[in-house]
Symmetry: C2
Subunit: 119 residues, 2 copies
């Protein structure tokens, strides 16, 4: 994947309305009118957001003339998640440090008991 | 987390140079000069990217006057990954469908062998 593809994905996700539209599509296909309902914005504004999502490959739209349902396409989300996964060890590090500390405490405890047995 | 926080993170990630800077920081702290080396862009341009990353909380900078090393901060990346994780089942669906198909084929195979035994 070219870097631009990933930039297009992240850029499309950098908006709360677009993320809310994707969240709505988790529960199934929806028309533009249905998608617009929860937002205090105009249909043209929703259409603009849908164009951004469509351009990023995050949704596809049905070909029915009257009702062109929007459908979630998760491929670009997977690529974004794969990119983020390279950094996983950094956010898991704090848990590892806690693990190390607990391990160390346990080691000291065992050593102390060892010494007690010697007496 | 407010939606804006996530938008700031995704917006900061929507640039190949900024993603390359974060990737460089996986291997440890680095100065602005070190970070600028691989790119055919000016130091001020790199500084501008660093400001965006710092504003998004994706890096912190040391307080040493001469050398202010940049350091990766993975917290916002974890939040972005957590958001993307809600969509995991959609990109895993294609594998599930393949699994179902293989299971179906195996079922037919077993049924066929069953019938052969009857004869």
């Amino acid at each position: 994947m070219s870097p631009d593809r990933l930039s297009t994905t992240f850029s499309a996700l950098a908006d709360p309305t677009r993320r809310a539209i994707l969240a709505r599509l988790i529960s199934g296909e929806a028309s533009v009118t249905e998608l617009a309902e929860p937002f205090a914005i105009s249909l043209p504004a929703v259409s603009k957001h849908l164009k951004v999502l469509e351009h990023a490959g995050l949704i596809t739209r049905g070909r029915e003339a009257q009702w062109r349902p929007c459908r979630l396409e998760a491929g670009p989300l997977k690529d974004a998640a794969d990119w983020l996964d390279h950094y996983r060890r950094f956010w898991e590090e704090s848990f590892d440090r806690l693990d190390d500390y607990l391990g160390e405490l346990q080691g000291q405890e065992e050593e102390r008991h060892g010494h007690e047995d010697e007496h």
